[in-house]
């Protein structure tokens, strides 16, 4: 048993890494300018060639963004699922992404209308405030609603309200950037710069490490609050840490790529079924990798399916993610009978 578990672990991680590398290469390769693998390798190592600019200035930043933000989304979903003891919780479903989007739009419009440029960090702070705001509402609902589905419905409603207000604000704002804003509010990895990538890495990687260091109390918390407390977890501090970490992650994603649906729910679930465990010490790195793979895959489709036009990333993630959510709910139902 023990042995078999280890083999599954190795195969799982090896598979994820292989998929990641494959998708990175494929993502560099595919697009309006088709690049063969030999040329990619040459460009990557020498930085020269006719298409070096395409790879280095457009495709690579986009790939790294999809990788980072996809991982962040999946991890945020895992944290929220742990926090609410609810397998279909996630930043998008609970309206946290939409809250971040709302405050972000307000900030953007506020600054842009005065002709002030907004830094990436300011955007993250705004998105974080929005995420925390939504989280507050979701928490209030969770105190009243003990049922799993009620919490989700509450979150979806919060999401709708935030989106409605965002639409309202966007409609009445008068700026050429609105088109940009509108594009962003649909969710997309396009137009990422290296400085964006830098900020992402600075936010996401420390959060990932912090989360990993919390894997022991997370494992205790998974058993239920009563037991976690008896095992020596300071529940209050731990809950605050979980809220901050998951909000930071979803805020970072929303600030750069807009709201992206279902990754947060689908990936942790898929990872759990692949690894046949819910142990945080495995789930945290695996979810991050899984999210990266999932988003690279979806972004590839978003870019290439109807090229030269581009799909919004959320449409693609929804197609692959939503069925997983339905599957999870049906399986829960079966388990309860």
């Amino acid at each position: 048993m023990e042995k078999r578990g280890h083999i599954r672990l190795w195969i799982g991680f090896a598979g994820l890494f292989a998929a990641l590398i494959l998708l990175v290469i494929w993502n560099i390769n595919a697009g309006s300018v088709h690049l063969p693998v030999s040329e990619i390798i040459e460009i990557l190592f020498s930085r020269t060639g006719d298409n070096a600019a395409i790879v280095w200035n457009i495709r690579l930043p986009r790939i790294i963004s999809a990788l980072m933000l996809g991982g962040a989304l999946a991890l945020s979903g895992f944290l929220l699922q742990t926090f609410f003891a609810n397998p279909i919780a996630g930043p998008f479903i609970l309206g946290i992404s939409s809250g971040a989007k709302l405050i972000l739009s307000l900030t953007l419009i506020g600054f842009l209308s005065r002709g002030v440029a907004v830094s990436s960090f300011a955007l993250i702070v705004a998105a974080f405030l929005g995420a925390i705001l939504s989280m507050g509402f979701v928490l209030a609902i969770s105190l009243k609603a003990k049922q799993m589905s009620l919490l989700i419905i509450g979150g979806v409603m919060i999401g709708y309200i935030c989106s409605a207000i965002t639409d309202f604000v966007v409609t009445f704002a008068d700026d050429a950037n609105i088109i940009n804003l509108h594009h962003w509010s649909q969710g997309s990895f396009s137009g990422m710069s290296w400085s964006n990538v830098g900020v992402m890495v600075i936010v996401v990687i420390p959060v990932l490490i912090c989360t990993f260091m919390l894997s022991k109390p997370i494992s205790a918390y998974q058993l239920g609050e009563v037991y976690a407390q008896n095992m020596g977890v300071n529940i209050r501090l731990f809950r605050i840490a979980l809220i901050i970490l998951s909000s930071l992650l979803s805020a970072c994603v929303t600030a750069f790529a807009g709201p992206i649906s279902f990754v947060g729910v689908a990936v942790p679930h898929l990872i759990r079924s692949i690894f046949k465990t819910a142990k945080p010490i495995i789930m945290i790195p695996a979810c991050f990798l899984g999210g990266a793979v999932f988003c690279l895959f979806c972004d590839l489709i978003a870019r290439t399916a109807v090229s030269p036009a581009e799909l919004s990333i959320s449409s693609v993630t929804a197609v692959f993610g939503a069925p997983v959510v339905i599957m999870v709910m049906l399986r829960r139902q079966k388990d309860h009978i």
Partner: protein, 377 residues
Amino acid sequence: MDYYISTEHMTVGYDGVPLIEDIQIGVSRGEILTLIGPNGSGKSTILKSMIRQLKLIAGTVVLDGHSISELSERELAKKLAIVMTERMRAELMTCWDVVATGRYPYTGRLGLLSAEDRQKVDEAIRMVHAEDYAESPFDRISDGQRQRLLLARAICQEPEVIVLDEPTSFLDIRHKMELLDVLKTMVSARNVAVVMSLHELDLAQKVSDRVVCVANRSVDRYGTPEEIFQDDYIRQLYGIEKGSYNSLFGSLEMEPAEGIPSVFVIGGGGSGIPVYRALQRNDISFAAGIIQENDLDWPVAHALAAEVVSVPAFQMPDKAAVEKAKELIDRCGSVICCTDTFGECNQACKELREYAVSRSLLTEPSELFEKVKKEEK
């Protein structure tokens, strides 16, 4: 008294509203303290307050000479383990994994188990005899197995106190006994103090060293099982109005049938008990006799019969008793004789049987029930 864990003027409740005030209870290592009392009386509230799950409204809980509120989370976790009624969420975990979570306070930053930890987990699983299903998924095992594993989990936490909230609820009698047996072993082998709540009075009486009775939002009594388990007191504690409780046997009898007795039951030596209960079930009022007050039948006859002809313990029935019984037989109009062994001490019963035969009043329980059913129709 030198308690290992005790409460000093503890007041417990929710949201600052006191529910039970000034609780003073305690238990030493190697002892079992049991909380009994009706549903909703506050047993769980007391337990949750003692494990720092609920904030105290007043007073302190003292654990090994220190106030529990001064201990760090980790220190407390090394001293105190729990088995609560809250369902444990153990997604994709084997039973072994669940037991291993007991090692939490001893593992490092990332919670990795050392060889010693693994050995202790195995040991705890052996102690509760759960080796056979240690590798099964935790959410696929029975209630009885689950409780045992949760106990194993508490054991491998190597605590000095274990607090259990109704650990035997939902278990069948075999699993109840096995669980308490393991607990007893823990107490004697590892010198652990146990605080628990139980619904089964008979078991509480047998395993506890001290008993706390919680009722009407107060600690009503606190003492040894011998002091607590008295028929009238238990009746009063639980507000039993219909039926009665026999504390010596830990058995409950239903409310006796009403009306004038229509059958006389000759019993003795325990032979009468099933018949008494069958009559009660069929709602037939009956009289019983002649029973010595140290007879096995006596407590049940006393609880269920409309009338009992009895004689004091260790005394032969006298003429008066026999006359009284005969007169009752005449009044009842039918007789069931439960015993066919007649020795020196129950010659009077033999005489009653013959009396019934001579008047052809003797009947079998089954005949009687059929007759009653026909009459009802």
